[in-house]
Symmetry: none
Subunit: 207 residues, 4 copies
DNA sequence: ACAGTCGGGACACCCCGTTTGT
DNA sequence: ACAAACGGGGTGTCCCGACTGT
């Protein structure tokens, strides 16, 4: 299964081309930002002409939106990898954290959510809205796991699911950012260790 | 006192103009990124013509570097506000966190460190290096506070100063980013609460 | 027949436009020099917009090179006009000189070879090289005629073909230059007379 | 003795500066042409600021005119070198030709007369006029020598002084141009030989 | 008076995202 | 899907006037 949005069967040649454009564009936008990505560069990357690109997208902004959906879908999938065969909320969260730290999304350039959110936080309301919604859904995903863990007494009952999800996401994304700036992945490891210990604390009954 | 880098006395008219350009540019770059900021927009913001701007900077990149120094200087100062009159490492850290959550730096558009780091993480090596160095010094600042707290037994001796600093920065910057994307400041409050509790734990003697 | 380089059949609309640009540019470059010719002026002359011009040339320098090829091709053709139906080396040379003196090349502004050579003799190595090669081929053309004349005893055997070609070209180009500066064509006539007498001398057997 | 136009005694510091500017400018204009020479480059070459230059000249065009006068004065002096101690019209002409071929004027970049004349032959009427007048005077100089040679029977009486001067100048300037384009000085030598033989012919009585 | 700073507009070349014919 | 053209905007540089301190 692909990322939901994308096609599965009956893909014509045009759809295939569109998908190829999206994949190349996703990488470019994720690495260079919206303004930093030019259609000329995309032409070279795809081997198409401008007209060939504009057949599939009415504007650069729409292309960027589709590219974001693809990139974020890929990133989300990578982060959820293996969760469906993991039992228990705490192990699932730990797995998710490990995925975040270790697995590189198929789209290089860092977390599409952060990149797009920051890149478009002035102007470009379409992208901004997509990033907002993606973040919201992503948090809900964590909340769902945490709530399930609380239901079956795996996680302390005085936990606030929303708050825990927020802390996990903040720490991870912040660590990813530090890693990118500093050029090392030390921050990711440190935060992983910290979060794992935090989860262990939550697993213990309240004192 | 200004941010150290900037002038105080003997400012000729030209220096004054240069400073005005930097301040406007810092805001623009912080909000729109490097590629998204055009000199034309800066012309309008400053009321100067191209020639008037290019007298003071040889290129957009140099201007961006100066603007970053200014913006980051302002942000750091805001985050360290009041720390010199606060006694104790733990109160200092809490004050720093509160500053981060509550005080808006004089340069709108989010944390210059994050913005610049992510914006320039491909290409633009000059900015990238400045962001890297700024992050490094910022972390060292926290490490210094933490180490001092451990020396006078205020903080548990089994704490790793580097790791704690990394966790604090990651969480805060990640929370800021979530706030920007979601449009609320809920994430900042949550992470503040979380970090304060963490610090309280570290203040207790090891069990 | 056009100037060899240019197209004759299968010209698409784009090629036609490109040719139009080249022709206008050739005149501008020949009259105003490389630095003195602006793209804006070319826009006006061609009726195209910036984008329409830059589709066909990646840079001003490339355009200048194409324009030189065109202008020189036209000039050379004008100078060789009628030579193919002229019998004998001496008459051919006289015809060539007359062409030089009387026929205006289709590209106004003087001899493209001289203009380009002098205009680009510092910097602009591409143009400089084209001018150098053009001059070399031009001289060879004269040498070929002279050598043929010597072979069939039309020209004295103690003639140095290279030297004679050099003298002819120097005198003609120098005269053209004097004409341009002084605003009259007296110099051209004088040099024509001089060269014709020189050729007559060479036609006579050595004393 | 300097070139007449320039100062000899009572030069204040300002005049000295002005002269320094002129010398640098003369070289730049001679090498790069009017449009290709920027005041910024001249600032760097002279070590002065814009204001420092514009104190002495009201515009770039006036500066170019003064620079031309200087460059041409220097070139003319070089070409006339030693003529005052040479006896006889034919030896004087040969000396002049030799000077042209061998002596490099103190201002690099080729013959200022040709450069300026061609560079300014559209637009820039001031420069154009100066070049025209300089060429006229230069030819008169040769005519004077030739006429004197005819008066004392050194040169054949059926010679047209104007025509001979035109031929000499055309050949020499044309040869200089060929040398510059081809990068060798072969053309200059060839034309020198040719002109010397021509002068020898004129020295013999008419047959 | 005069060297030098500062700023002003205009324009350079180049490239952008977009639309159109086909 | 492409080739062509369109406008407009990008950064950078130009030449020059006006102001500033000496």
């Amino acid at each position: 299964m692909k990322f939901g949005i994308q096609f599965e069967a009956g893909m014509s040649k045009g759809d295939d081309t569109k998908q190829r454009i999206i994949e190349k564009a996703a990488e470019m936008f994720n690495k260079k930002g919206y303004e930093g990505s030019s259609l000329s560069a995309l032409m070279e990357a795809t081997g198409l002409q401008k007209g060939g690109i504009y057949r599939h997208f009415t504007s650069k902004e729409e292309l960027a939106a589709d590219a974001f959906d693809y990139a974020w879908g890929a990133a989300r999938e990578a982060r959820l990898y293996g969760l469906d065969v993991t039992a228990g909320a705490i192990p699932q969260l730990k797995q998710l954290i490990a995925n975040f730290v270790d697995r590189r999304g198929p789209v290089p350039g860092g977390c599409p959510l952060v990149n797009t959110g920051i890149d478009s936080d002035d102007g470009n309301p379409i992208l901004r809205e997509r990033a907002r919604k993606a973040l919201c859904e992503w948090k809900e995903r964590l909340v769902t796991i945490i709530t399930a863990g609380m239901k079956n007494a795996e996680i302390r009952s005085d936990t606030e699911p929303e708050d825990l999800a927020t802390v996990v996401i903040s720490s991870l994304e912040g660590a990813l950012m530090m890693s990118r700036i500093s050029g090392t992945n030390a921050a990711r490891r440190v935060v992983q260790k910290h979060l794992n210990r935090l989860l262990d604390d939550l697993a213990r009954p309240a004192a």
